[in-house]
Symmetry: C2
Subunit: 355 residues, 2 copies
DNA sequence: CCGATTTAAGTTAGCGATATCACAGAATCT
DNA sequence: AGATTCTGTGATATCGCTAACTTAAATCGG
């Protein structure tokens, strides 16, 4: 471990400096600053004046050592490029800021090892609670279980949890996918493909289950060759996956007339492949995605997709966490409904709109 | 301020617990764990054994209080939806992780007040250094100046800094824009529009200056009516801005035959408007963007754009910060070159490629 | 074989904050 | 009036950790 030479310019102001400047004891200064206990108006004023003058900021490490509370919560995200992340954090902040909590973010960068490291960092810094929005893995589950055992309040987002002591919030991906595929069926499609995961790995993927069941409920037996995608299980599917998936499906003897893509990125890749192949959308092939990323309204044609209430998931998770921190011990779960947004990539009759 | 009831399940293990369990003094335990000073092999082993058994993790607040070092650095980002953010953080982590630093991220959400709050939070927690990647504002500058005065090592990214004691890293946006516009001129265009900022507010925007000078250097006098965009100064320009900007330019008596958009989102909005108007790209209007977001290769047609070395900026910023923390006091600045990526939105002759 | 060095521990004293106890004077109650 | 409560303040002891000092045995070189 390399040595670090500190560049101590001026020592930061401490409570003792304030007390000296204000002519009171440190305890009185502390009380004045925190508004606890009895402090005369005179004393309060001169302390506040000193705080202002010396530009005092309490040392949170010192405070935390004593009160065992950091007023900070940690958020673990899979990665920040993800279009969710921002909205999710906004939702959480909306709830946590007014309560005086600071929010720190760390990312796992899709690597379980990095996720564990970030999680450990939060624990080492003794945050008051954790919100974890990374994808579920066996290794990750083990780490989370130990978090719970250590008594640190924990809420997960979009991740099924298999043990107690945790709250969780999720969107109804199953229903969203079901609705999207049902919409395609209503538009007259019978041969509907899924791009985003290899058939063998789709058991865990609720979006895929929604796709399968929508077909079955309409009396259409899903065909395995209509499902294409990466085999990496819960990995995020990309534009490239969508592009290659579409090419693959187009080569079939009787190719699908409609595509339900695992997410909007995948859908955009599929659209691109369709253009390349000279297929027109939605006449030759209809395409629907999932997530309603900002760009979805700006593809050509605009993309039909499913919107999940991201900010609300963040808010709810934050509320759950606050309740946990304040002592609730029963587990709670919230499932938020998704909303189908029909645009021209599946229905030409719609006006060209950005909504 | 609401009261918080702690849910103390089991008190976390302390060094004293370890010492007791291992049958040594706390100091020996500390030395064994930190690998400092002399510790016999026997003692080290039994301490490590106790650490393992009791699942001990040092209390970083307590340690920080003593050693005045947190081994953590704070990163302030404008918002996380931004496609940079992720890459930027990856670059930083690549440098900081191996040095034993933990990275915490906070966002300002494009609000100066929130940025200040996040910055203050980092300072209150006494991080060892700060990397700030938010857009420059007067209020923000003031806050940063005070950071420097407090002796906290600071590096900025993509933000011109007007005072000393700060390192900064930036991409050569000017050159990138210059190259893109020069490319448009070489493709035979003479009437080239800029979408992304109102002409009166473009003074600060290096991308706009690059546009103007590329025109002038080619002997083309820029026309004010060819520049359209929001008036909010350094705000981020969106798809909507691009869409409306394109509509506006198309209404001119002699509309531009090429568009240089402030960023890829704006370019995508403009492309969408062009499609809506029945203009073909690049025959009726060529369009170039900036940033090379992942989707840029998947628009129809693929978008010509300028790529800036994001991860490298993150790495360099992290290296600068480490040097500062270790005592360097001269200011350093790095400017990274951008790279023009020509695709079919400006040049039809190219093969359809995703590179 | 003896002083000097190295190795291996333990003791003490804080870091900067707050909880707790102690105490004095003012205000209120019975 | 005397007891009781309310105000306002300060002294002291920690929180969990490590720097600095101290002690003591082991090792070493001439």
């Amino acid at each position: 471990m390399p040595r670090r030479i500190p560049v101590s310019t001026t020592r930061p102001t401490t409570l003792a400096d304030i007390a000296r400047q204000a002519g009171v004891s440190v305890m009185t200064a502390s009380r004045a600053i925190n508004g606890s206990g009895y402090v005369s108006e005179d004393a309060r004023k001169s302390v506040m004046h000193a705080v202002e003058k010396l530009n005092y900021r309490p040392n949170l490490s010192a405070r935390q050592l004593k009160v065992r509370r950091l007023d900070a919560i940690g958020i673990l995200l899979p990665d920040i490029a993800n279009p969710f992340s921002s909205e999710l954090v906004n939702g959480m902040k909306r709830v946590l800021d007014p309560e005086g909590y600071t929010v720190f973010i760390a990312t796992g960068n899709r690597s379980t090892r990095q996720e564990d490291a970030s999680l450990q960092s939060f624990l080492d810094h003794r945050v008051d609670g954790l919100i974890v929005a990374t994808r579920g893995t066996a290794m990750g589950d083990k780490a989370l279980r130990s978090v719970v055992q250590q008594g640190v309040p924990l809420v997960t987002i979009g991740r099924p949890i298999h043990f107690r002591g945790v709250d969780s919030v999720t969107a109804n991906h199953y229903q969203g996918a079901f609705d999207a595929v049902t919409h395609l069926i209503r538009m007259g499609h019978k041969r509907i493909g899924f791009i985003g995961i290899a058939p063998a790995h789709g058991k865990q993927l609720r979006r895929y289950q929604g796709y399968l069941n929508a077909l079955r409920e309409a009396g259409i037996e899903p065909r395995e060759e209509y499902t294409v995608g990466p085999t990496e299980g819960p990995a995020f599917a990309t534009q490239e996956d969508g592009y290659h998936g579409m090419l693959q499906l187009a080569q079939l003897h009787r190719p699908p007339t409609a595509i339900f893509a695992r997410n909007d990125f995948t859908a955009i890749g599929a659209m691109h492949a369709a253009h390349t192949l000279g297929l027109s959308i939605p006449d030759d092939v209809a395409i629907a995605g999932f997530d309603n990323i900002p760009l979805a309204a700006f593809t050509m044609p605009p993309l039909t997709t499913v919107e999940q209430p991201i900010a609300q998931q963040g808010e709810e998770a934050a509320r759950f966490l606050l309740e946990r921190i304040r002592g609730r011990s029963q587990d709670r779960t919230a499932t938020m409904e998704c909303r189908l947004i029909v645009r021209q990539s599946t229905d030409l009759r719609l006006r060209n709109s950005h909504r």
